[in-house]
Amino acid sequence: MEQEETMSLKCENIVKIYQKKEVLKNIDLEIEHGKIYGLIGRNGAGKTTLLSILTAQNPATRGSVTYDGMPVWENQQALDHLCFSREINAVSPFGQNTMRVKEYLRIASVFYPKWDKQMAKRLTKLFHLDVQKRIAKLSKGMMSMVTVIVALASKADITMLDEPVAGLDVVAREQFYRLVVDEYAKTGRTFVISTHIIEEAADVFEEVVILKDGMVLCKENTQELLERSMHVSGNAHDVDAVCEGLCVYHEKKMGRSKGVTVVLEKGQSLPKGYDVTVQPVSLQDLFLAFCGEEEAI
């Protein structure tokens, strides 16, 4: 009986170069079993590339990816534990994607040894998906739903979803989060979910990985990260005094007032006695602080 609890997906010194451009720069990451991870980053930060390298759908230029110590590349034993459910396109490299949904699901069932047919059926019904429909004829939302069905029904130990909610309306998005949380609660499967829609998903992520310009900016327990981050505002004078020596991001000024996002290191705390407003920040706020641009519009 395998000890699933100790099997983790590890990548070391991953570098990916596309046409002379370094898209991923020395990524070291360990995806531990039994957690829901959020992978957030701007467009072009390298999220999709990273996920496809982790699941051996794309070769790294340098570096290694291992699952439970075994290299993942072309290793069916390792790959049987992984699933990468990526966006489906209406147009494949060979023209219009005329495959029907049910054929796509059947191929997925062959691909993933632990495929749960009942679950796929149940979810298809839940999403009101017509399996006879050809992929090219699906709406963006329906395509996202197919992606979600594949991810969940694969029953893979580590499942990656690349922007699964991009095409879904808010009602369907809520359904998605419930489904993932429910599946995770029942099975303890590992999920890595990349998304742009940060705030809704923030509470679902036990750990968050922030990717910026091809590098891991931060990988941390979501709640711990948020607990050590805050927004400090007030008279610029006082704000500067309070934040002396601390890591500040995203300074914003208006007249004499100033607002900054502060992220404390271990052992640091805000000095007391200053008349400043201290507020908690959301994951989205923090992401903007880390990855936003100070453009003059």
Binding site: V181, D182, A185, D203, E206, V281, S282
Partner: protein, 124 residues
Amino acid sequence: MNEILNQEKSIYLQISEMIENDILRDVLLEEEKVPSTNELAKFFKINPATAAKGINLLVDEGILYKKRGIGMFVAQGAKQAIKNKRKDAFYENFVKSLLTEAARLGIGEEELIKMIRQHGQQES
């Protein structure tokens, strides 16, 4: 239990406070079963580990207890325990900011006491 989560404080703290509020309001009675962490996670669309943290906080404080294989239950005397806990935190959570703001606005002690007396009679 139907309060909405916000970002004012850590989610797990909001979960434990919600359960406490339900106990105070007699929505959850002593010796009654509390929703499971998985039910809470699904309901609020949060990570089960977060829900568990909120529940465990209450277990540590003796407000909930665990019946193995069955679930979490409201402990005897939980209601009073919550009241006591909140009473101790009352100054920190409510009075401190009141005094700070009053000071900022130049509202003196006498005026504050007058306000409390006037409205205290009306509200109760």
